[in-house]
C-alpha cells in the first residue's frame, strides 16, 4: 500500500545526505570532543563546523549557538535561565496561550516557584495582539517568549515587532523557532532576537539534538551542570553524530529554502483546494497568509479526529490531531481552543504537514482516501449539519 506521510511537523525522516555525513562519527571518528588527542580534536573542530552551519542558517555568529538535546531543552533552558538570571529585576514573564507544551509547562513550573506569567490571547487567526503585549509589560517583566510559528496551525507571529517592543523596554526576547526553522527565512540579527530554540528532527536531521541561539551579551546560567562543554554553558558529552547531522540538515535547509517553500506551499494549497472542493463542511483553522508553507489544519465537521487518523493510517496516510507530542494524552488542543474553536470542532480537526518528500501523487491519493473516509465516518456519525452537539439529546 502507498505510504503518504503528511506529518512533517511531528518529525521528519533524516535525509540521505545528512545520514551519510553522520556515519563516520559513529565508528572511525568517534573521539570525545573534550579529548586532547587527534580524534578528539578533530571531533571538536567538526563540531564547530556544524555550529557554523546552524549559525549561518539564522544569521548568527558561531559562538552564539549552543547545542542541546532537543527543542524542549532549549525552551526549558531559555525560560528557566532567564528567570534565574533576572531574578533581581523581576518575576514577570509574558508568553502566549498557544505555545508548545515545552514552553507552557516550563512557565507553569516557574509559576509554582512564584513567578507571574501572562499568557497572551490570540485572535481567531492565531496571532497575538501587539497592543495587548505592550499593555502587559510591567517593570517586573524579565522575559517575553513568543513562538515564531505555531506547530498546529502554522501561524507566524510578528516577530520583528515583538522584538522591538521587548528591546524598547530592555526586556529579553526569546522565540521558539522549532517549527519555523528551515521553513521560512530567519535572521536573528535583523529580527532582533535574544534567544531562539531550534530542533534538528524538524528539518530532516536526527531526533535528540537541538540548539539554543543565545545572543552575545545575553548571559543565562547553565541548565545542565558538569563538564566544560559548549563553552562551559551546557555540560554533557556532545551528541556528536546528532550535531553533525543537525549541521548538515541546516546547510541543506539554507540551500533549499526557496525551493522548499515554493514546493511545499504549492502542494499544501493543492491539497486544501482538492479537499474543500470534494468535501462539504470542512473548515480551515488559522490564517492562510501568515502561515508556515507546509502546514494546514482542517476541521472535518461531524467526523471524529482519532477515528479519522486511524482510518487514514489504515490507508497508509499519516497525520495528527493536536500537537504530536500530546497526541498520547487525548486532551483537546489548547491551541485550537485559544482560537475560539468549539470543542466539537476541535475533536474533528486534523493537522497535515507537507514536506520535501511529498509528491503530487501522494496528495491525489490522500485526497481520494480522505474523502472516502470522511464520508464513511459521517455516514454513521451521531452528528450532521442537522444534528449538532447543541441540539442533540441529553448533552
Amino acid at each position: 500500500m502507498r505510504q503518504v506521510y503528511l506529518d512533517y511537523s511531528a518529525t521528519t525522516p533524516v535525509k540521505k545526505e545528512v545520514l551519510e555525513e553522520m556515519l563516520p562519527y559513529f565508528t572511525e571518528k568517534f573521539g570525545n570532543p573534550s579529548s586532547l588527542y587527534g580524534i578528539g580534536l578533530s571531533a571538536k573542530s567538526d563540531l564547530n563546523k556544524a555550529r557554523e552551519k546552524i549559525a549561518k542558517l539564522i544569521g548568527a555568529e558561531e559562538r552564539e549557538i549552543y547545542f542541546t538535546s532537543s527543542g524542549t531543552e532549549a525552551d526549558n533552558w531559555a525560560v528557566i535561565g532567564a528567570a534565574r538570571a533576572k531574578k533581581a529585576k523581576g518575576n514577570h514573564i509574558i508568553t502566549s496561550a498557544i505555545e508548545h507544551h515545552a514552553l507552557i509547562h516550563t512557565c507553569q513550573y516557574l509559576e509554582k516557584e512564584g513567578y507571574d506569567v501572562t499568557y497572551l490571547k490570540v485572535d481567531s487567526k492565531g496571532c497575538i495582539s501587539l497592543e495587548e503585549l505592550k499593555n502587559s509589560i510591567t517593570d517586573k517583566t524579565i522575559l517575553i517568549s513568543i513562538m515564531f510559528a505555531n506547530n498546529e496551525i502554522g501561524t507566524i507571529q510578528p516577530i520583528k515587532e515583538i522584538a522591538e517592543i521587548a528591546k524598547s523596554h530592555g526586556i529579553w526576547f526569546h522565540t521558539d523557532a522549532v517549527q519555523a526553522l528551515g521553513n521560512i527565512p530567519i535572521n536573528v540579527k535583523e529580527l532582533g532576537i535574544d534567544m531562539m530554540s531550534m530542533s534538528a528532527h524538524k528539518i530532516y536531521g536526527p531526533k535528540g539534538v537541538g540548539a539554543l541561539y543565545i545572543k552575545k551579551g545575553v548571559v543565562i546560567p547553565s541548565f545542565m551542570n558538569g563538564g566544560a562543554q559548549e563553552n562551559k554553558r551546557r555540560a554533557g558529552t556532545e551528541n556528536m553524530t546528532g550535531i553533525i547531522g543537525f549541521g548538515k540538515a541546516a546547510e541543506l535547509a539554507g540551500a533549499n529554502l526557496e525551493k522548499h517553500i515554493k514546493q511545499v506551499s504549492e502542494l499544501r494549497n493543492y491539497f486544501v483546494k482538492e479537499i474543500t472542493s470534494k468535501l462539504e463542511d470542512v473548515d480551515i483553522n488559522g490564517d492562510m497568509e501568515h502561515r508556515l508553507p507546509g502546514n494546514i489544519n482542517l476541521t472535518f465537521n461531524y467526523a471524529e479526529g482519532e477515528a479519522l487518523l486511524l482510518y487514514m493510517d489504515s490507508r497508509g496516510i499519516s497525520a495528527s490531531t493536536g500537537s504530536a507530542c500530546s497526541s498520547a494524552s487525548f486532551t483537546p488542543s489548547h491551541v485550537l481552543s485559544s482560537l475560539g474553536i468549539p470543542l466539537e470542532k476541535i475533536y474533528s480537526s486534523i493537522r497535515f504537514t507537507v514536506g520535501d518528500f511529498t509528491t503530487k501523487e501522494d496528495i491525489d491519493y490522500a485526497v481520494e482516501e480522505i474523502v472516502k473516509i470522511v464520508e464513511k465516518l459521517r455516514g454513521f456519525s451521531a452528528f450532521s449539519k442537522e444534528r449538532t452537539w447543541c441540539n442533540n439529546g441529553n448533552v
Binding site: 477515528a307 470543542l343 455516514g379 451521531a382 441529553n394 448533552v395
Partner: protein, 146 residues
C-alpha cells in the same frame, strides 16, 4: 503494536449495525462534549425482544468498536437481558481496550440503557435493570482512569 487489538480494529474499521433505521421503536443517545464522544442507539423491539439495533457514533476507535459489539450483543436479547450487559461485557467481547479508552465503552452501555429507558417510559414498562438509571447522569464519573 497498535493502540487497539485486532478485534477492536476490525469492529472499528468494519462496524456492524452502523447507521440509522426507519421507524425505530426506541432511540437512546449518550455522550459528552468533554469526552468528545456521542452515541445514538436505535432499536427495533418486538415482544420485549430486541430484534434489530443500529448505532450512529461520533467518537474514537474505541467508541465505534464498542458501538459495534454492543449492537451485536443486544440483538436477540430481551430488554432485561440487554440491561444486564455492562461495558465490561463489551470490553470482554472486544478482547480488551487500552486503559484511557475504557470510558468509551461506558458510552455504549449508557446509550443502550437510555434507549430501553425511553421505550419503557413510553410503554409503561417497569424493568428491574433500569432501577436507579438516570439518562441525564453525567458520565464523567468514569473518568478517573485518565
Amino acid at each position: 503494536m497498535g493502540m487497539y487489538n485486532d478485534k477492536v480494529m476490525d469492529h472499528f474499521m468494519n462496524p456492524h449495525n452502523a447507521g440509522a433505521m426507519e421507524n425505530p421503536d426506541a432511540v437512546g443517545t449518550y455522550g459528552s462534549p468533554v469526552c468528545g464522544d456521542m452515541m445514538e442507539i436505535q432499536l427495533k423491539i418486538e415482544n420485549n425482544i430486541i430484534v434489530d439495533a443500529k448505532f450512529r457514533t461520533f467518537g474514537c476507535g474505541s467508541a465505534i468498536a464498542s458501538s459495534s459489539v454492543a449492537t451485536d450483543m443486544i440483538k436477540g436479547k430481551t430488554l432485561e437481558e440487554a440491561l444486564n450487559l455492562t461495558n465490561k461485557n463489551f470490553i470482554d467481547e472486544l478482547g480488551g481496550l487500552p486503559g484511557p479508552k475504557i470510558h468509551c465503552s461506558v458510552l455504549a452501555e449508557q446509550a443502550v440503557k437510555s434507549a430501553i429507558y425511553e421505550y419503557a417510559q413510553k410503554n409503561g414498562l417497569i424493568l428491574d435493570g433500569l432501577k436507579g438509571f438516570n439518562p441525564d447522569l453525567e458520565i464523567d464519573e468514569h473518568h478517573e482512569e485518565e
